[in-house]
Every structure is written in structure tokens, then in C-alpha cells.
Amino acid sequence: MTQPIDTSIYAAITEAIQAEAHRILAEGEVTAIVGYAAARRKGSAQPIIITDAADSVKLIFTPACVNNLAVYLTKAKKDIPKNGKIGIVVKGCDLKALSGLMGESQLKREELYLIGVPCAGVLASTVCPDQELTGDSIAPKCTECDAHLPTGCDFVPAETLVTPELERKYAVEIARLEALTPAERWVYWKEQFAKCIKCYACRQVCPFCFCEQCLCDRNKPQMVDTTPRPAGNTAWHIVRAMHLAGRCAGCAECERVCPMDIPLNLLNRKMAKELKELYNHEAGFEVLDKGPLNMFTEKDDQSFIK
């Protein structure tokens, strides 16, 4: 059964973003804005960096605005002016990543102008971008979203969202996997990791993979086998999951860009669930000085010490 999702306010949001973008660029409050613009195919969208107030009409917000633009502020920042405040269009999930990056000294709040977007959801895939947003076509992450309305932004269009209750796709899948025996789970993940071609698209698109040189690319000593073979693949995906534990905010870009359809965010969500259970930690809008795995308190669960 296809459940329709109301995205009628996206047009009004687009107008509001354009007006605000025009104002802050014209008034010189920011030197550039990272946002979404229409791409060549009908209904599609792509990231854009604008520096001229006249270009603010190019900005849009549609269900095809899937990207997490946070990466344009860190490792993909070559087109970003070095001076002045930068404006950025953020969905709730993207804002969580920005908050994480601020906590890890990669961004400074005072150097950003956050244009928050009330978001009912985006498409799971942009292969056919010109389609209605429904319970079927929506990104799985949006079915579990608790951050439809970003807070703490400099500007948020005053539109009221209607967000229907959807089946929580990751929760269902995690429950299924948790019910398996360790051996069965291992078989499942081995199959998934075997598909990996080591294209590192997941790494490239992840806002938290901001290292200049990934430890997996180091060869003195070689920590992880770089060829796409089972041992190295498994090592890479374990490193990735462990490094994201307590940090990943669930933008699910890794999963979206994976050409081999490995359920990467499923692993991330499982790690997040563990962190919630162990340390009552959830990635949110709050900028934390120390993540849950960077500190020790006497109350920490120590049942793992046998």
C-alpha cells in the first residue's frame, strides 16, 4: 500500500530560501551559500555554491534534494571562499552532522549561517527523480526521522509540516538481524561485504570521514588490505562502522551512494542503538565537547569486563 506524503510546502520553502539567500548575500552577511539547485533531468537536484545574490533564484528544495551538503564545508570545500561566513541549506539530518563536526573542531558555528529546512522526507533514490514522495519511495532514514524541523538555525522558513507515521525500516531490519544467531548474522554480513568493490564512495560522501589521509590508505604499516578481497573488505567496513560509532547522525549518504547496495546505514544504526543502550547517547543538534567514546565516567557500563 502506498502512503502519500505531503510535500506541498516545499514550494513555499523554496521561495523562502531564495528570499533569505538573496538578502544575506546582498547584505554581505555571507560570502557564499551552499544549497540545492535544479539539475538537467526533470525533477532532479544537485548541490550548488552561489556567491552572487542574483543566483539565489537557482536555489530549490524538493524531495530530490538528497545530498548532505556538510561535506562541502570540509573536504570538498575547494569552491568555498576562504573568508567570511558561509550559508548552508540544511535538513535536520544534515544539521546533526554539522553539530558533530563542530564538536570535533572541524567547523565553527560563528562562521556559518544555517538555513534550516522543515523536511517531510526525501527520495530514497534519485534514479527517477521526477516522482511523488510516498511511503515506498521515501528514503529509509526518513521513516525514522526525529529531526524533521531543525532547531538552532539562523533562519527556518515558517512552514508547518505534516509528517505521517511510517514503518521504521531500519528498526525492523535490525530486529530481524538481532533475532539471528551470530553465525547467521556473520553469513549475512560476509555476503554484504563480499559485494564491496572498494570504490570508497561511502567514505567520500561521509561528512565524518574528514581525515586528510585515511588510515586505510596508509601503507607503513599497512593497517587494512586495500584490494577488494573479503578480508580487506570486512576490515574496511568494521573500521568505518567503529569510527562512526557515537558520531554518525544517520544522513545515510553512504548507503545512498553505494553502487553495490550494501546496507551501510543499517550497520550505522545498529551502532547508534548500542550507543543509546550503553551510554544513553544519541547524535542530535547539540554540540558536544566530548563524544560518548571519548570519555569515561564511573557510571559507564562495565559488564563487558568478565
Binding site: Q106, C211, Q213
Partner: protein
Amino acid sequence: MSRIGVFICHCGENISRTVDVERVAAEVGKMPGVSFSTDYKYMCSDPGQNLLKNAIQEQKLTHIVVAACSPRMHEKTFRKAVEAAGLNPYLCEMANIREHCSWVHENKEEATVKATEIVGMMVERVKKNRVLPTITVPVTKRSLVIGGGIAGIQAALDIADCGHEVVLVEREPSIGGHMAQLSETFPTLDCSQCIMTPKMVDVANHPKIKLYTYSEIELVEGYIGNFQVTIKKKARSVDEDRCTGCGVCMTKCPQKKIPNKFDQNIGMRTAIYVPFPQAVPNTPVIDRDNCTWYKTGKCGVCQKVCGPGAVDFEQQDQLVVEPVGAIVVATGFDLYTIDEKPKGSPIKGYGEFGHGKIPDVIDGMTFERLASASGPTGGKILRPSDGKEPKQIVFIQCIGSRAREKGISYCSKVCCMYTAKHTMLYHHKVHDGQAYVFFMDARTPGKSYDEFWRRSIEEEEAVYIRGMVSRLYQKGDKIVVMGSDIAVGVQVEIEADMVVLATAIQPQKGAELLAQKLGISYDKYNFYSEAHAKLRPVECATAGIYLAGACQGPKDIPETVSQASAAAAKVMTLFSKDQLEREPIVARVKESGCVGCFACKKVCAYGAVEEKEIRDRQGNLIKTVAFVNPGVCAGCGTCQATCPSKSVELDGYTDEQVIAMIEAL
């Protein structure tokens, strides 16, 4: 090409009993890179070390592996030997084939194979070892002493007499600590104040000692040789420079009924006060909680009568920063109280002793004040309840101490001796009185100690009853003491006029908070931990911080004074050089890979990680990276494990070395 020398130790028979050392030497000799291998009965002995040194020179060895005991035991020994032979000491590694192999295995064949593999791992590791230069850091030759009791006073005087400046910080308005409260001291019965106050005056007059009383440690930053200590000087409400110590303010203060903590709350003091007449400094403090001026805004008598105009109601707390190179912690002890069950503590109270509700059940320190000539009763033993002289007095030892079921399992060490002393003082002051002592054992090791205890029984007529007391209760104006005499095997009931409890010695309240500020470790009772129970008893594991006195564990005065002097000697050893040498096992940041997430900084328990800006020649900021201060780094490796991009390496324990070890297996 490395020329590795491997030396297999028999450790007498400790290793050779279960490991065929000759076979290990032969097997290891075949390993690539090993040009010399041999075995010897005691590698750590003088001939053993000479064997090593000669082999380095004769065989032109470049790297050394000593297969023997734990590196905790002899790594330093062998590295020194290697250095003496002209090699960098960090090109020597130890393979632990004793604790990790011979001691834990029985099958000689298997243990020999395992020992060979352990040595093989270290051979691969040592190939990756690099020359590490010794790190030197400058030393600030000033010392901080925390606590102005006898321990702190002794340490401060010793260091200052050596010509180094000392900053002495005391929480109370006067130095002196618990020793100033005591009446007489065992085993010679000389007056505590008579031997204590001259030392207090020495401190006050010493040109090298800067005294902060009524002050607390707010913050400690830095590291050995270079600490920055922030001291909070609490507002005294009296200007120390103007006050002449005439004491008129105290005689005129209308608030005269405030229990004096120095007299264990049985004596009274005024709101503007010095805790005791011999106080150093002799400058009063206004107790703002009890002062009429602070409560109602009226009075101000002390200000009116003060000739030099020293009383200052507006005085504020002050923060002072003192740079020091070493810290002696001498915060002393507190006594266990039977009054209450401390909150959140495993220590249970003494409900069966009336929970402190019986007024004539007092603790040992209160008895000291009663017996003291300067105490509230002028040295007469009188009951707090009605001021009558007790004719039957019962002393009970081990209250709290050695009582696992009450939460404390240790012995407080001084109570046997001071209870014996109390019986004597009582006998000297109340000639027709009788003293009884309930005790478990008499623990009196120490010079002239056992003689002292015997004297209390044989000459001073104290009756010692071996056994514990199960209950105390008030009956009229008597206290019924119900106990057992296990030597005779009977129940004993004594109707006493007064009961003195030898309550356990505990660390000062808040000891753990100070430890956290200092970054030193403490045990489950909050006593501070020494670096090694036997061989480094006055040093903390944190470099540059030393312990003196009862903050480390129960101690009597001679022991405390000895430890204080020992701590002072350690400080002077540190100050004997301008530059401090330390082991170069420290973390190093590979700046090219660092992205400045500062996860390392967040996990560093020593505050060793700093932020460093990298700029180009025009001065433009390229990036901010982590920097490990080698003077502070303790080499724990937490940053190395935390760094997501593996941009931190711990010298001597690099990933390359560890992976080489794993791959050798």
C-alpha cells in the same frame, strides 16, 4: 643491516627449569638479522651485564634483545648497560620469558617453543626501534607544600633550609594541624605544643617560605618541574599586613559561644578568632557564618576597637597563581565519627554505641584536648556533660579500624599507642581513677613503643581487657559498657563515667577532590597512592608530586616526620639539576595526517595535548593540529589508540613495531 644480539637469561632456575634456554639461543641465532645469541645464568648480575657490554663492542651489535624477566623488573638495568656500551638505550628491548612463559607453564617442550616465539617477536620489534634522545625539561626550583600540619611543616622547612623557595598552603586559619591539638606525645610524653610551636614559628619567620593560611588549592596545571598552581585565599576579613595580633577584637566580640573546632567543639570561641593562642600566623579570622555583622549588618565592634584598622568586612576571596616545580601533598587525616553513617559510603555507623548521642562518649582527639594544658578545661579531665571528674574510664580501641563489617579493614596504627598514653595521662591527673582498655591486639612495633605500652599496664595500673564491646548505653549518669573478655571467656559489664573511643584514621574529607585536581591516584578509602609500595613510597605515580604523612595512610609523628623529610629530599633531588631528564617514551603527532579533530586532546588524562597552528611563510593559517608536550606526556598511548587517522605515534611503541611483532608470529 641490523646486527642484533640476543641474550637469554636462566634467571637462576626460574626460566631454565621450564625453558631449554640453550635451544632457544640456538634457534634465535638462526633468525634473520641476529648476529649473536647466547645464554647466561644471571644476565642482570655484574658478569652478565659485562657479557652484554663486551658482546656489543666485540660483535659490533646494533640492537639488543634481552630475554629474561618482565621489563618492569630490569628494563632500566639493561638499557643502562647498553648505554654504557655506547648504544642508544632505546635500541634494547626485553622479551619476557619468565612471567609470560616459564612461570606459567610446566611442559618444557612447549614452553621452549613459546619462549623462542616471544624472543622472535621482540627481534622483529627491535629492528623497527629508533634512536630516541632523552627529553629534557626546565625545572622551576620552587616547591608547593599542601597542608601545614607537622608533615607539611617539616617538608617545607627542609626544602627551604636547602635554599629553595616554598609555598606552604594551609586550609585552616593557622598551621599546626592535628599535632598542635595533642596534649603529650608517645613514647616520651613530651608536650606536643612545646615541640611543635617552635617549628611553626620557624615556618613563619623563614625567609624562603611563603605562607598561605586560610587558603585552598583551586587549580593545578602543568607538569613536573613546571606546575602553575592557583591558590584561593579565602577572605579573612582581617588585613594580615596591618594586624598586630593584639587580640583586643577577640576579647570584645559579643559572639562568644561558638564551638571551637580546634577544641573538638567542647571549648568555645568568638566570631573573630584565632583557633588557639599559639596560632601561626597570629592574625584572627572572622567566621562569617556566625558574625553578627554578616548576619544582621550591625555590630562591627571588632572594627571599632582595632587600633591599626585591620578589620575589613569588605575583603574578598583572592586567587593567586604560583609557579612551582614540585608539589608535596601533606593533607593529613580526619577521624572517623560514630555520629552518623556517612552518606554514599560503605562505612556503617555505630548504632550500638548510641550513634554519638551519649555526651560522655568521646573520641581520642577530644580526650587530647581535655588533657591539654591549653585545652578548654585547662588540662583537667572532666566530663563534657556535667564537668565532673570521671573515676572509671573505659577506652575502646579499633573503632572503625580493622572492622571489615563496618567498612574499614585497615589498622589505624597509632591508636594502641595513644590509648596507652591516654591511660597514663589519666592516671597522672586522676590519681584515684581506674582506666580500662578493651583491645583486640596491642600493636606496638617501634622504638621504645612496646616498653611504653607495658608501662601503662605495669606501672600506670591500666586494666587491659582483650575483647570487643558490643553495646554502650546511658544508665543514670553512668555509661554501661557491655563487652567480653575473651582471655577469660566471660562477659564484662563496666559502669563507666566516661568512654573514649579510639576511632579510625581516615583521609581528610574531600581528599579525592584534591587528588583529582592534582591528577594523582587514591585508594578506595581515598588515601593517596604511592608509586610503589616498597621502593617508591613517597612519590606519586604522577611525576613531580610527593606524599608526606597520613594523607597516604595512618602514620604516627616520627613516621610522618621521616616521610616529610624523605619527600623534601626527593624535591631537592629534582631541584639539583637545571634541566630534568625523562624517558622519551612519549606520543608524537604526525602533522601531515592530523586533521585537528582533537579527539586525542579530549582523552588525554595528563593534559599533554595542545593545539598548534601551522602557518605558511606569509603567516597564513594552514591548519590547526594537535601537539603533544613531551614534558607532560606520560606515554600511556591513549591518544594513539583514539586517533582516527592514526596520526599519533607513541615513540617506542609505534604501530610499525607492534605490527612487526604480530607478523612475526
